[in-house]
């Protein structure tokens, strides 16, 4: 009998909701802190566009940024400007760490082809043959 009475008293229990905002806010902070947005700055480039651009698995990827300054090529790997001749050794090292390495070439669309040609030559020498030529996906040619 007494039990029954007690039940009636607890008919609509109140759940404390004032702390949920704190919890969600903490979650927000947690995700803000743990997400890594972009590791490298690279160079300022105007990316070429392509219709058949495909998604690249980002796991094994390593970027090589190719820009130009007049006739001279400017290459940046891991946010360091490197001479074109040393790409080979850098990529060879990366290839040793990750044999499935995919090199993503982020080249400015106005780069003279001779510069990218030299970069490809270096990659071939480093035996890094899987290459992705970064291009923005478009749906029609303008």
């Amino acid at each position: 009998m007494r039990k029954h009475y007690q039940k009636l008293e607890q008919g609509s229990p109140q759940i404390q909701t004032s702390t949920t905002s704190d919890i969600v806010f903490l979650l927000l902070i947690f995700f803000m802190v743990t997400t890594v947005f972009r590791q490298e700055q690279g160079l300022r480039i105007d990316m070429p566009q392509a219709l058949s651009s495909k998604k690249v698995a980002t796991k094994h990827i390593s970027h090589v940024w190719v820009g130009y300054d007049g006739d001279r090529g400017v290459v940046s790997i891991d946010d360091r400007i490197v001479p074109i001749g040393s790409i080979r050794t850098i990529i060879e090292q990366k290839k040793r760490v990750d044999p499935n390495l995919i090199v993503s070439i982020m080249a400015d669309r106005n780069t003279p082809y001779s510069i990218s040609n030299d970069v490809f030559g270096q990659l071939i020498k480093a035996n890094a043959l899987h290459v992705s030529l970064s291009a923005k996906k478009i749906n029609e040619i303008k």
Binding site: S18, L28, A50, S52, P112, S114, N117, S132, A135
Partner: protein, 143 residues
């Protein structure tokens, strides 16, 4: 006057919905923030080998690009926008599956020109569902 002030002294702001608001904000930012996705054209470069690979020269289709972006397929000028149709046509001929497209830009040709030609050839291979055979040749000197 005094009495009234005392009455409104500590008004209750309902905080129960605050959690919902922040939660909605969290969802909103989770959805709208695009994690940088990589888009690109895949290519497998040829291995560096001592022995040269001999190939029937009739199977190689030379696609030359000059510094103005003009495209010539086997010395025949082609509008680059129609290159994929032209390539499909060539691939669908008998023995078309043994063709190899060799892209040869000049030294001063823009990277962009090479990409768009490469893109067109990729589209042609996508249409015909054949195994891609595109090679990037060393740059030629400008005329």
């Amino acid at each position: 006057m005094f009495k009234r002030k005392k009455q409104t002294g500590s008004p209750d702001i309902p905080t129960a919905s605050l959690g919902d608001i922040t939660f909605l904000m969290l969802i909103f930012f989770l959805v709208t923030s695009s994690f940088s996705t990589e888009m690109g054209l895949q290519i497998v470069l040829p291995e560096e080998s001592k022995e040269t690979i001999t190939m029937l020269s009739k199977n190689i289709v030379h696609v030359r690009i000059n510094k103005f972006g003009d495209v010539r397929v086997e010395d025949e000028p082609v509008d680059w926008m129609k290159l994929s149709d032209k390539a499909v046509e060539m691939l669908e001929k008998p023995n078309g599956d043994s063709l190899v497209f060799s892209i040869i830009p000049t030294r001063m040709a823009k990277y962009d020109y090479m990409i768009r030609v490469f893109d067109q050839l990729k589209i042609a291979y996508e249409k015909t569902q054949m195994k891609e055979k595109i090679s990037l040749s060393p740059a030629e000197d400008d005329e």
